[in-house]
């Protein structure tokens, strides 16, 4: 039922994809095998399908494919690989910030946009920025910690971050996020 084509720069690769009029960006990504973004609600209410469109986090299930034509799209498949994780991915692994994993690709893409904009974050800012992305398994505590750790880690591992795209420049200057001890999870 394909009726049109959309041109997308997906993870630095120019691609022309078939789409039907009713397809969302999520539909076309998943149909051509990029299944990292997950379908959780199809109404833009859960965040599991979050990808970056022209650098901005978008819920791809409510972006009509036609509207995305000509955009630059970043998906989880474009970040690190299992043996060479992006620092945000590494922080999620190291902090046990995942269980079933269904929300995690969206959560990581949202975090990537957040850290690109401002790597010097307080816990409250992380919580605010992630508040559109639901997680049912973790209680969010370890996810928030992972994002703060990733922000901190930017300074320590600046080489690999720069190599990976270089959006993340500045670390949490005082390093005192207050999140890294049991009990001190909030501001």
């Amino acid at each position: 039922m394909y009726t049109m084509q959309v041109d997308l720069a997906i993870n630095d690769q120019q691609e022309q994809l078939d789409a039907s009029k009713s397809d969302s960006l999520l539909d076309v990504l998943r149909k051509q095998g990029r299944t990292g973004a997950k379908r959780g609600c199809d109404t833009g209410a859960c965040g599991f399908c979050t990808v970056l469109v022209d650098g901005e986090p978008e819920k791809s299930c409510i972006v009509p494919a036609a509207n995305a034509d000509g955009s630059t799209v970043e998906t989880i498949e474009g970040l690190g690989s299992q043996s060479d994780l992006h620092p945000i991915q590494q922080a999620f692994v190291d902090n046990f910030a995942l269980q079933c994993g269904f929300c995690i690709p969206g959560m990581i893409m949202r975090s990537k946009a957040l850290l690109a904009e401002n790597p010097d974050l307080t816990e409250a800012e992380v919580r605010e920025a992630l508040s559109d992305n639901l997680c049912r398994c973790t209680g969010y505590k370890k996810i928030v910690r992972a994002v703060l750790d990733a922000a901190d880690g930017v300074d320590d591992t600046s080489t690999s971050v720069v190599a990976d795209g270089g959006h993340l420049g500045v670390s949490n200057a005082d390093g005192a996020c207050g999140c890294c001890h049991d009990g001190g999870d909030s501001e």
Binding site: R39, G40, F96, G101, T138
Partner: protein, 810 residues
């Protein structure tokens, strides 16, 4: 009353028999109890073995397998839009005439079985009633499946489904569980409509089950007590959605050997295989159920909710069919936590002893009876064991049908409702008697050595009475009190704001007593690595990693050297599935025993290669070594020698299965710190603290994750989650109407692990998954009572309810 320090010295007339049937000392293998310095791979932070594929988006869930099927059709279900009635006609002609439509099925199709079944993924025979058909002519709630379409893509299937015309003969509905048993209430089932093995069903009164059990004589004890020391309270809880991240999804196809295969998001692959075989009259061996990564279950996938529809569509369409639920279906048509009303009554003697506990639960089962009685049973049998020495206990329940969505298994399984009633009640009793609520409970709370009978109050005999061999609840209380600052609470400066702290004690089980089976097989490769095939189902909790740690601890390799294949009915040994907090305790013990079986062969080869007796050999750090001479041989050397040796060859294999009547409770203490505004009723959660005794935590960060995620669900239950209906029509269609807590809704959470050793569990482990879903509602109700003196007994706890209660006391 015995003193807390000498629980084992009680003078109990039945004690001799109890000691035989329920010994205090457990005959535990020597290797099961280790001190921290001896542990290589358990009680250590171990990377979750699917973490890397999850963060890279490579983990594949059911819907991600579509690429494997070039001809894959997509399904859509047509559901009842009335709460009660008969389907008199279904016009499918327009749908059937559409391009790209492969099949339309209705209850009258040959491919759709006309048999009764239960969707509950329970052991055989399912205790839940067989009361449903795959597609339904008698519809009993808005959302009942009537017909389904398979088409070339989901867009076409949806369009076709919208053209299907259903005509009904409408019937009156009943929506209030309190009046469902009235004589003039509309009746959902004729007795012939159901095969029900549960106790006390009376379908003329919409009663799915009635049950009762008593220890001692509750009426006499209450009669004897001073009237002022008899306290009665009432409690009410709403529907809760699992909000399962991955909607229910199934791919059904038939392979080249004419075997029917399912890739499906299920917690119970083996039960699903059996139930499909029975329902469709296919031999069990001709069905294969494969579980890929699961986007969590929380009980909603302990149900064969959609597999039969997918299968019938596949049989008629002749091509592989994927059926993927929408979020709206998850919120209206699938499965939920049963709403309940409860009444709790206790008597306390002059010297402060609890002499009687009397609990009643009315459960709203909704339109069908899946897990109806068994969930309601757990309302009492999970929290009452917190107080095992109370001599007179009664627990009764009624489970009724209404024309609303069906309750089913949900993480906690009746225990969240029960703990709200029991633990908020105990707090109320203490306060009314002018006792500190924690000190009062300490006097009565469970201790190691206790024989718990009230966990088996609904069963005949004492087979399922439970000896407590590990109990860290006192330490949970102590550490939780410290963490929350119980004795040192600063009040806000404004006089209309009041701060309070509340606690709830919590217990769960580790598997279903006497109804569990796990099995595992482990095979050694040449390079000293292993393949573990295990029936236990990892639904995202990390039990595959737990299994690899347990195997590694026995075999002396590293956890990453154990490749885990879990739960494929063709490829792995059997398992009852992931429910009732059974996986670490039951399936984990099967893994441990299988690894020990392999280790025997390993040591035999080590003995031959090192020329030393097996009795002096041990495994560790990738080697077999002699405790006498220090000589060693690597597992890799053993692996190559065993497979390619000159004189003798074997593959080193181990296998085992595990079942038990034991189900040791993990224990916990949930603390909530709250500030309430007495002018508005609004409240702010300052902090949650949870201390857990789950025995030995195999992978501590995974255990913390279970606790924090469980508290999240419990927080929702306490503060924000519920479903609304108007005359049976659902008003909650998605996340936007439902109050699932977000990052910004969570207060700081402190998580504390209290280690005990459970001799019946693998390396001392008990369960953890359900325990933390039970605590926030009672602890928050208790904290609000502490802060402003009012008692909230209805969930969710809203500012409006608090304000009303405050106004009422003025």
């Amino acid at each position: 009353m015995s003193t807390p320090d000498s629980p084992t010295e009680r003078d109990d007339p039945d004690d001799t028999i109890d000691r035989q049937d329920h010994p205090r000392e457990w005959d535990e293998p020597e290797n099961n109890r280790t001190v921290p310095s001896e542990r290589e791979n358990i009680n250590t932070d171990t990377e979750k073995n699917d973490a890397r594929k999850i963060v890279t988006g490579e983990a594949r869930y059911t819907a991600d397998y579509h690429e494997r099927f070039p001809e894959l059709a997509e399904g859509t279900v047509i559901r009842s839009d009335i709460p009660h009635g008969y389907v008199t006609d279904i016009d499918t002609s327009a749908a059937e005439g559409m391009d790209g439509v492969y099949a339309v099925i209705t209850p009258w199709d040959d491919e759709v079985p006309d048999k009764l079944y239960s969707s509950s993924g329970q052991s055989y025979p399912e205790p839940s009633p067989w009361d449903m058909n795959v597609l339904r002519k008698h519809v009993r709630y808005v959302g009942d499946p009537i017909a389904a379409v398979a088409a070339e893509d989901s867009e076409t299937a949806d369009r076709a489904a919208r053209t299907v015309q259903v005509e009904y003969e409408e019937l009156d509905g009943v929506f209030d569980p309190g009046s469902a048993t009235n004589e003039d209430a509309p009746q959902l089932f004729e007795p012939d409509d159901v095969e029900n093995k549960q106790s006390g069903a009376e379908y003329e009164r919409n009663l799915e089950s009635h049950f009762e059990g008593e220890i001692g004589d509750v009426d006499a004890a209450i009669e004897q007590a001073d009237e002022e020391r008899v306290v009665e309270t009432e409690w009410e809880t709403p529907y809760q959605s699992h909000c399962v991240p991955e909607p229910h999804t199934t791919i059904a196809y038939t392979d080249e050997d004419n075997r029917h295969s399912f890739i499906t998001a299920t917690q119970v692959p083996f039960h699903t295989r059996r139930q499909l075989a029975h329902l469709f009259d296919v031999p069990i061996r001709d069905i294969r159920v494969t579980k890929p990564r699961i986007g969590a279950g929380f009980g909603s996938k302990q149900e064969m909710a959609i597999e039969p529809i997918a299968f019938a569509l596949h049989l008629k369409a002749g091509v592989p069919v994927k059926l993927e639920m929408t979020r709206q279906e998850e919120f209206t048509a699938l499965r939920f936590r049963h709403p309940m009303r409860m009444r709790m009554r206790t008597a306390v003697s002059e010297n402060g002893e609890l002499t009687a506990m009397d609990l009643y639960a009315l459960s709203n089962s909704g339109a069908y009876g899946t897990h109806g009685m068994t969930v309601a049973n757990n309302v009492g049998t999970k929290p009452l064991p917190l107080y095992p020495r109370v001599p007179n206990v009664r627990f009764e329940g009624d489970v009724v049908h209404t024309n609303l969505p069906m309750g089913a298994a949900m993480r906690g399984y009746g225990a969240p409702q029960g703990h709200f009633a029991v633990e908020a009640h105990m707090d109320e009793v203490a306060r009314q008697l002018d006792r500190d609520p924690i000190a009062f409970r300490r006097d009565h709370v469970v201790r190691a050595g206790d024989l718990v009978r009230n966990s088996a109050i609904l069963k005949d005999g004492d087979r399922f009475a439970r000896r407590i061999r590990s109990c860290g609840i006192e330490e949970c209380i102590d550490r939780g009190k410290d963490a929350i600052g119980y004795d040192d609470l600063e009040q806000p400066e404004q006089s209309h704001r009041h701060r309070g702290v509340g606690m709830a004690l919590i217990a769960q089980g580790s598997g279903v007593s006497g109804k569990e089976l796990g099995a595992a097989q482990i095979m050694m490769n040449e390079d000293g690595s292993f393949h573990l095939q295990v029936g236990g189902v990892d639904t995202g909790t990390g039990t595959d990693t737990t299994f690899s740690q347990i195997s590694a601890e026995v075999l002396g390799c590293a956890p990453e050297d154990v490749v885990v294949l879990s739960s494929d009915t063709d490829l792995t040994p059997f398992d009852y599935g992931a429910y009732a907090s059974s996986t670490t305790y039951i399936s984990g013990m099967a893994v441990k025993k299988a690894a020990e079986d392999a280790k025997e062969r390993l040591l035999d080869w080590g003995s031959r290669m090192l020329d030393e007796p097996v009795s002096v050999l041990e495994t560790g750090s990738g080697e077999i070594y002699s405790e006498e001479t220090g000589a060693s041989v690597t597992l890799e050397e053993v692996g190559y020698e065993a497979i390619y040796g000159d004189e003798k060859r074997e593959q080193i294999l181990g296998r085992s299965s595990h079942s038990t009547d034991e189900s040791p409770p993990p224990f916990g203490a949930q603390f909530v710190d709250v500030t309430v505004d007495e002018k508005t009723g609004e409240y702010e959660l300052n902090k949650l603290a949870f201390a857990a005794d789950c025995g030995v935590a195999i992978n501590p960060p995974q255990v913390e994750g279970q606790i924090e995620g469980g508290e999240h669900m419990s927080l929702e239950y306490a503060t924000s989650g519920s479903l609304d209906f108007e005359e049976g029509q659902p008003k909650t269609h998605g996340f936007r109407q439902y109050g699932m807590p977000r990052t910004t809704d969570h207060p700081p959470m402190e998580t504390l692990l209290v280690e005990t050793h459970e001799p019946t569990g693998p390396f001392g482990a008990k369960s953890i998954a359900e325990l933390p879903t039970n605590g926030v509602p009672p602890a928050l109700s208790n904290a609000i009572r502490d802060a402003v003196g009012i008692r909230i007994n209805t969930l969710p706890i809203t500012a409006e309810r608090i304000k009303q209660a405050l106004d009422h006391t003025d």
